[in-house]
Each structure stands twice: as C-alpha cells, then as structure tokens.
C-alpha cells in the first residue's frame, strides 16, 4: 500500500492512481526501472502531467529533477495531453524519399496541426516519428495502431475521416 498523497488532477481517475501505485510498488526496488515505470504510467494515463512525475519521483525515492530529466529526454514521453487518434507519420529516409512531406502538408492543410500538435477538439495528434522500419510500405503512417502504407497524398484526408 502506498502512503503517498495523491494530488488531484482532472485527467487522472482513482482507478488510474491505483494502477500507478501498483506499478511503483512493483518496481521501486529495482535499479534502473524508472523508464519502465514512466512508460507504464503513460500507458495508463495517456500522458505524463507534471504532478504525476512528482508523484512517481516520490514513490520511487528519486529526485524529481532526475525523473523529470528522464521524462523530457526520451521521445516516447509526452508531458502534454494527446488527441484521441494519434497519427504517427514515419519520417525515416525511405518515407522521406517517397514523399511523406506531401502527406504531412495535406494533414496540416486539412486539420490545421503541425508535427507535435493536437487539434483543439483533441481529435488528432500529429507526430513525426523515427523510422518505423516498414520501408517496404513507404510512405507510412500509423493511426491509432493501424498501419497505412503506400500512402498517396490525395488519399490521406479520406483515410483520416474514418477516425472520429
């Protein structure tokens, strides 16, 4: 059982706090486990609010600065809330050569978001991600775990219409 005080946060429910306590309890004695703890906590909440990072630091008995340093170093972690549908556009070399730039500009024109941004209604987050290793399908994007390959610029807006 955790003895930490849970800060109130609009995006974290009691069930999520329970899950986070579970994650911390299982890992706090394992050296070097903080990256895994942050990953699992982000999976539970959707992102890492600063209040949560402080909470994890206290639970793991680490300086908050160190945990914050780790959370801001790795691309996987986000300190900002994300959209319901995350568009991960591959920006690897093969996708670049095959025209991911045009795909991105179509998304930007239609939904008004650039890489790293989220629409005001939190419908989409657009991310340019490192090579997904699916170069045979270039250009590629992943929308909410579905892979869309061999993209054509004029099709991309239509594909996104399926994600509400």
């Amino acid at each position: 059982m955790s003895i930490l005080t849970r800060p109130s946060h609009p995006d974290i429910t009691d069930a999520m706090w329970d899950k986070i306590d579970e994650i911390i309890d299982a890992n706090k004695d394992i050296a070097g486990s903080v990256i895994g703890v942050l990953r699992m906590s982000q999976d539970a909440v959707g992102y890492l609010p600063v209040e949560l990072i402080d909470y994890i630091a206290e639970g793991m008995n680490l300086p908050a600065s160190q945990v914050y340093g780790v959370a801001t170093f790795y691309a996987l972690f986000s300190l900002k809330p994300k959209g319901r549908n995350i568009i991960k556009a591959c920006t690897g070399t093969a996708c670049y050569v095959k025209g991911i730039k045009e795909i991105l500009s179509h998304i930007t024109n239609k939904h008004g978001i650039k890489e790293g941004e989220t629409t005001a209604d939190r419908r989409f987050s657009l991310e340019g991600v490192r090579c997904l290793g699916a170069c045979g399908l270039a250009p590629v994007m992943i929308v909410s775990e579905n892979i869309h390959g061999n993209l054509k610029p004029d099709e991309v807006v239509g594909i996104l219409e399926n994600y509400k």
């Binding site: 050296a31 070097g32 024109n109 290793g133 699916a134 170069c135 045979g136 270039a138 390959g149 610029p153």
Partner: protein, 595 residues
C-alpha cells in the same frame, strides 16, 4: 506430430502484417478446413521473409512455389486450383519488372538467388515461436559445444579467426572486443544486445528478431560463456512490439528447455537474459549512452576510456554486440571461424544484411557476401529503379553515412572501400534515390534528424549541427549566399574533430558526402535559386509552362485546395492565392509542365 503433405510458409513479419497477412491466414485456414484439407496442409507463420515490397508473401513447401500480393478474396480460387487440383496459380507469381516474365519458384527469383544466408539462415523457414523448429536446424548446438566442449579462450579464439566485425556499423573486430572483456577482472560482467535500431531506413535487426529470435539468444549465451557473464540484456526499441513479443516467447521457451537460467545443459554455467525497452532516443544506439539508459538515466554518452570492456553497465565489464553480429555467432562456433572467413574480402569477411528501400523495385531485406559490388545489390537483387527513372545515389550508413553516386557504384561491399568513397558500411540501411531527389534537401533531412536527436551534452554537436541545419535551410529556401558552402565545410571539420561520441563525430558526413559528389546542386540552389530536382518548395514558382502542358487535367483533379483552373483542351492555370504548395500537381503531372 501429424504429417503434412504441404506446408505453407506465410510471412508474419511487420511488413506483411500491415499488408493483411493475418486476415489472409484466417481466411486460408477456414477454407482449408471447409475443403477438408486442414489435416494435410499446415500454415506456418514465419518471421520476415525479406521481400516486403510484394507482401503478403507465402512459400509453398516442398514445391518451393512463391506467391506474392495475396488477398483474402483470392483464397477460394487459390485453394481450389493449387491445393485440390495441383495447378500452381500463375496470377500470384513474381513478375520481373524488366521483361515481365513470371517466375514460380522462389529460388529462381533474382532477389533471392543472389543472396547468401548466414545471419538470416532461418528466415521464412521456421516458426519463430516454436523452439523445436530452431533446434531442428542445429539450434543451440553452438551453445552446447561452447559450454561443454570448449574453454572460454577457445570460444574467443574461433571468433577471432572468423574475423567477424561489428555489424552495427563501426566494424570493430568482435573477437577482440570479447578478449578485452574476458581479460577484465571482476565477478560481475554483462552481455548486452543492441537492438535499438535507430538509423532511418534500416530494419535488419527487427527482421532478424522477428524471424529467428533464438539465434540472438544463443549468440548471447556463447558470448556470456566467452567472458564469463551471468546476466544479459537486450535493449530493444519499444516500437518493435512484435520483435519484443517473440523474444519474450523465445526466452520463456529456452528457460523451459534448460537452455537459459541456472546450470545450462548441465554444464554448471548459469546465464539469464532480460529485455529492456528503449524509450525513443537515437543516441541510445551509442554504447555508453545505451548503458546509461539501462541504468534508468538520460541516455547520454560519456567519454571513453574507460571502455565498456573494463567499465560498462553499472561500472562492470560489459560487451555490447548488435543483433546481426550475435545471430552470426552460433554458426561460427559449430562450423569454425575458418569457415566463416572463407567468403568475403581481405578485411571484411562473411556476409552483410541490407535493408534495401527507397526508389528501387524490389524493396526488402537481403543478405549478400562481402565484396559484392554495390551495383549488383541495386540492379540484380533490387531489380533497378522503378518508373524508367534514372539512378542518382544510394545512401548507406544513415545519418553517419553518405551518398554513393552512379560512377562509384562498382565499389565492393567492404568496410574500408565504402569509407573511401565517403560513406560508411553502417548498420545496413541502403536507400536508393532516383533523379527526382534533391541532394541538398537530403543533406538537410539528415541534419534535421541529427540536430533533433543530439543529446545536447557536448557543444560541437548541440550547437554546431544547429548552425549547419540553419545554413542548409537557408539554401533550400533560396536564401543561400556566397560562402555558405565554405561555412558548412568549416563547421563539419570542427564537429568531426571535437564531438564527444560517434554520433556527433560523424554528424556532418551526409553534408560532406553530398558536397563531394553533388556540389553543383548546392551551387545551383545558391546562385540561380533553382532546385534542379524540384523538391525544394520555396524554390518552385507553382506555374504551368503552356508549351509543355498537354491539357490533360490531372493536376486539376489532384489539387486539394481548388487552386487550379482547367477546362478540356485548355492549359491549366494555378491561382497562387489559393495554392497551399502541397506538391500534388507536381507529382501527378507526367510532362514536367509545372515549375
């Protein structure tokens, strides 16, 4: 075990998964059951077959028939024709781009017939989730030999004789690395596997992990024996979920069989392997940064010495090998180092796996003997450039590498020879570019990547790459000035000499290599404000040349923002106030009429 008349080796790699292999498998299984064939014909989901471009792919054994681009709706026809009537279906055969000939057998397809399999010898042949299938192919024989018949010194000796060099890119002799760590005093030592494949356009390690995870585990066990380590970690990119799942299964099965854990095969030797998921930082492919990351810290490199062989993970002696390097180890132990060294060039032995992608017909994963000219890799195996376009360059070595132009294509695949032409062997990404690629834009792309991934610890890399990126962006935006090229060269030299880690020291390579072979393209951008390949948006006018316009209306249909006015038999006109510069019209126009 029931006997099967036919085995269907269906590729279950990431590439084929995303083109629908799972749905196809389900439909095929249902159809086989409906036709009463399920007892005779077995579907085996293999790891990555390598030929990702034509997925989903399936090999029919023992006939050796290769099917490509399979779809769910084709299942009834395929089962009826081939598996009931015994007539292979021509419609799904591979078609050669050059002469449109169909090739039924996998081994006759040039993509496969020119390859030599060592690190990938089990790809597409076994079910990676069943340890028995790996064992049936001499699996764990190498580990058994190393543990029961050889001393650690003998193991290191064989790796030295094989002249195997690190396949992650730098090419450091593996045997020497092991010898250093073996000689390091200390009870606690570590064996690490670097599966943080970060180079854009590289997917060799992912495919090996997906198709043959046990080979990597076995390589690690042998390495542990050589240096006397008790614990190993596989540091894998978190994006590679399928690879992680298969590794997880493989580790569990190996433990059940007594091949991992306490007292392996009764030898008294104990060794454990855990998977560690990375969190998305390119620099963590650098060995000291990777170790910091396993320790739960920011993955920043530190100066060497001390080298990891003396002070690595948790300051204990550590060896770090790449996935492909480790996958080669078991066969070297079984067949001997001299066998491995029997192919290749004087200083580069064995084979190398490449991920061939970009503007090339046969995209996929290939393993070729060292010494093969790069031209053969692109034209014989890769099948040349699609759409009748001209070859411009091939990029090897990712952000640390360089572009090799047409007149250097006969360079053999060899660590030293590739370095001589300004690229590096790298981890195996080979991205082919056709004439429509702008080399200044390519250099800008890599610098943008490096700048973004720079960990920020040392000034030359943190600040220098940013300045280089600014210069390249200026040039791509048509604001280049006299002297910019010289500034780029000066910055490149300073960064190369003073950055802390390999990532920084090689950061300028993509710029230097494009300057070496495509300097005139930089000059055209700067002096004439023109992008010859028409890729730099800021240098394009978005106007239609009435003399070249064939009035076909394709651009009009492609425009997403209704900026193009066109009527039948009239030249198209672009309204610049509505144009969003998305390039759709450029891509659609077949006559180069838009500029």
């Amino acid at each position: 075990m029931s006997k099967n008349r036919i085995q269907l080796m269906l590729c279950g790699g990431t590439g084929c998964h995303s083109t629908g292999s799972k749905k196809f498998e389900k439909a095929l299984q249902q159809e086989l059951e409906a036709k009463g064939l399920a007892e005779e014909i077995k579907i085996v989901e293999t790891g990555c077959n390598g030929f990702c471009a034509v997925g989903p792919v399936m090999l029919v054994q023992p006939e050796g028939i290769f099917y490509q681009k399979l779809k769910v709706e084709d299942v009834p026809y395929l089962v009826e024709e081939h598996f009931l009537k015994g007539r292979p279906v021509k419609k799904f055969f591979f078609v050669e781009q050059k002469n449109k000939a169909t090739i039924p057998h996998m081994n006759d397809i040039p993509f496969f017939s020119n390859q030599v399999y060592r690190a990938m010898r089990n790809k597409g042949v076994i079910d990676p989730e069943v340890i028995d299938e790996y064992i049936a192919r001499e699996g764990y024989f190498g580990a058994a030999k190393a543990l029961n018949e050889m001393t650690p010194e003998q193991v290191v000796e064989q790796i030295k004789i094989s002249q195997l060099r690190g396949r992650g890119g730098a090419g450091f002799p593996t045997g020497m690395k092991w010898a250093f760590a073996a000689a390091s005093p200390g009870e606690e030592k570590y064996v690490l596997c670097n599966a943080d494949e970060g180079d854009p356009g590289a997917f060799m390690d992912r495919s090996i992990l997906e198709s043959d995870p046990h080979a990597v585990l076995e390589g690690m066990i042998i390495a542990a024996r050589a240096i006397n380590a008790r614990q190993g970690y596989i540091y894998c990119r978190t994006e590679y979920q399928l690879a992680i799942r298969r590794l997880d299964i493989a580790i569990r099965q190996a433990k059940e069989y007594g091949l991992l854990g306490e007292n392996i095969l009764g030898s008294g030797f104990s060794f454990n392997i855990d998977i560690y998921q990375g969190a998305g930082a390119f620099v963590c492919g650098e060995e000291t940064a990777l170790m910091r990351s396993i320790e739960g810290k920011r993955g920043m490199p530190r100066p060497r010495p001390p080298f990891p062989a003396h002070k690595g993970l948790w300051d204990k002696p550590t060896i770090l090998n790449n996935v492909e390097t480790l996958a080669n180890i078991p066969q070297i132990i079984i067949k001997g180092g001299a066998w491995y060294a029997s192919i290749g060039t004087e200083k580069s032995k064995g084979t190398k796996v490449f991920a061939l992608s970009g503007d090339v017909n046969n995209i996929g994963l290939v393993e070729v003997p060292m010494g093969l000219p790069i031209r053969k890799l692109i034209y014989d195996i890769g099948g040349g450039i699609p759409g009748g376009k001209k070859f411009k360059a091939v990029q090897l070595g990712g952000p640390s590498g360089g572009c090799i132009p047409e007149h250097k294509l006969d360079t053999p695949i060899d660590y030293e020879e590739i370095t001589k032409v300004g690229a590096i062997m790298g981890s195996g990404g080979a991205i082919v570019m056709d004439e429509n690629t702008c080399m200044v834009d390519m250099a800008r792309f890599f610098m943008d990547f490096i700048q973004d991934e720079s960990c920020g610890k040392c000034t030359p890399c943190r600040e220098g790459t940013r300045r280089m990126l600014e210069l390249l962006e200026k040039i791509c935006h048509g604001e280049g000035q006299d002297g910019d090229i010289q500034s780029l060269e000066a910055l490149a030299e300073v960064i190369g000499q003073s950055a802390l880690c390999g990532l920084g020291q090689t950061a300028a390579n993509p710029v230097l290599s494009t300057l070496r072979f495509f300097r005139e393209e930089y000059e055209t951008h700067i002096k004439e404000k023109v992008c010859p390949a028409k890729r730099c948006v800021a240098l394009l006018k978005f106007e239609v040349n009435p003399e070249m316009c064939k009035k076909c209306g394709l651009c009009f249909k492609a425009c997403p923002s209704e900026a193009i006015a066109w009527k039948k038999k009239e030249v198209a006109v672009i309204d610049k106030s509505k144009c969003v510069k998305c390039m759709s019209c450029f891509d659609k126009c077949k006559f180069d009429a838009i500029f």
